[in-house]
């Protein structure tokens, strides 16, 4: 089932001679269970594509559909509601609220959406456990936990509730390689459980966790791999 679809999407900043084509004529479809990596040089439009996919920015042409809903048809209020309920974001710098504890940060999208405090906390504790955080972390503030733990909290926040689309922008940031890999495993697992994931990365090793890789250059999709076959084929004929 298609969760995200970009149909002929363009994003132009400015006008006339000063116009900058951040993204041009992008077509992309991501189904439930799929993790797609976006790669390309700096300034190639990776983050623009991610922001458009999550409704954080609007295209100047084309249409973005999340679970079949055209984002351009939604009022600001409904768009915000769709983002809270259906889309999870993981950013490079975690974007945790420093004055809230780990559990409060994770619970934030539910509380903003009107869920009661105790119910939201229960869901947050379950989400933190799902990303491998011990209960004692739940009541610590972001500056009292490690970078790896903070990113797990950010992922718990992105996955809480019934989100079916997870957008991650260089989510392993400054994490060491094994901690970064744990973060990608979480993302992979969530997709294996039925979410659709879009991962912006410049790191080929991280793109290795994806089902497909889309290459961007100068705002255009220049190449796109097809899903993998079964891995056994790889070692046949190895010498």
């Amino acid at each position: 089932m298609t969760v995200l679809e970009l149909r002929d999407v363009s994003r132009v900043h400015g006008e006339g001679e000063n116009a900058v084509h951040a993204l041009a004529d992008a077509d992309l479809t991501i189904a439930s269970g799929e993790l797609v990596a976006i790669m390309g040089p700096s300034g190639s439009g990776k983050s623009t594509l991610l922001n458009l996919a999550g409704g954080l920015d609007a295209p100047t042409a084309g249409e973005v559909y999340v679970e079949g809903t055209a984002l351009s048809t939604l009022s600001k209020k409904k768009l915000a509601s769709l983002r809270r309920r259906h889309v999870g974001y993981v950013f490079q710098d975690y974007n945790l609220v420093p004055s809230l504890t780990a559990a409060e940060n994770a619970a934030l999208p539910l509380e903003l959406d009107g869920t009661g405090v105790s119910k939201a906390r229960r869901a947050a504790l379950a989400a933190l456990e799902e990303v491998g955080l011990e209960p004692k972390i739940a009541d610590r503030f972001p500056d009292e936990i490690s970078g790896g733990q903070a990113q797990r909290v950010a992922i718990a926040r992105a996955l809480i509730g019934e989100r079916r689309l997870v957008l991650a922008d260089e989510p392993t940031g400054a994490l060491d390689s094994t901690t970064g890999e744990e973060v990608l495993k979480l993302l992979r697992r969530r997709c294996d459980e039925g979410a659709a994931g879009l991962l912006v990365t410049h790191d080929a090793r991280h793109a290795g966790w994806a089902d497909r890789v889309v290459f961007l250059r100068d705002g255009r999709i220049v190449d796109s791999s097809s899903p993998l076959a079964e891995p056994e084929s790889l070692l046949e004929g190895a010498e």
Partner: protein, 193 residues
């Protein structure tokens, strides 16, 4: 790949005969580099000649186990202690191909790079999927991670090469003197996908 050192390392676990050594090698490396049984026995003979292993009496099934000697142990320790030099590795066809791509008329270098990058990423995805198997043992995971990091390095090098080539104004390569009048060859990469 050094079959000699691999066999010595396996014999350090205890005496073993050829088929056992081959199975242990393939188990440790996930069958990435299949070993021919003939290769195993030839290498064991050479190791015996060089007094690095010694043959033990045949067992009831007619299999002859080998045991590592002190000389073999010292040789093995020396191997573990010595870094592999880059110059020991075979010529890298990809490097040669790209060096020729930038100096061959009519080759779309960006296209060559993108094809390679997509292929390397595909391999990297497959390695990652194999590594994600929770039942894979540690030695196999280490082999896979080595291949993953090499593939990653290759993609980074391709990214870098692409940027360098894009910035460089490639001069038209000069033809060889005595071929100046010959017909220009046509290259398959000129065809657009």
């Amino acid at each position: 790949m050094s079959v000699k050192h691999s066999l010595l390392a396996l014999l350090e676990r205890g005496p073993a005969y050829g088929y056992q050594l081959r199975a242990a090698f393939e188990s440790a490396t996930g069958s990435t580099w299949p070993l021919n049984i003939g290769q195993v026995y030839t290498t064991l003979s050479r190791l015996e000649r060089d007094e690095m292993v010694e043959a033990l009496p045949e067992n009831e099934s007619g299999q002859r186990p080998y045991r590592i000697t002190e000389a073999g142990r010292r040789h093995l320790a020396g191997w573990f202690a010595s870094p592999i030099r880059a110059a020991d590795r075979p010529r890298d066809e990809l490097t040669i191909k790209l060096a020729l791509a930038v100096t061959t008329p009519g080759v779309d270098v960006a296209d060559v790079i993108q094809r390679q990058r997509a292929a390397t990423l595909r391999t990297l995805q497959e390695y990652t999927r194999l590594k994600a198997d929770e039942e894979a043992d540690l030695a196999w995971k280490l082999v896979l991670e080595s291949m993953i990091f090499k593939a990653e390095a290759e993609v980074r090098w391709l990214d870098h090469t692409e940027a360098v080539v894009a910035r460089a104004e490639l001069p038209a390569p000069s033809p060889f003197g005595h071929y100046e009048d010959s017909v220009e060859p046509s290259l398959p990469v000129e065809e657009k996908r």
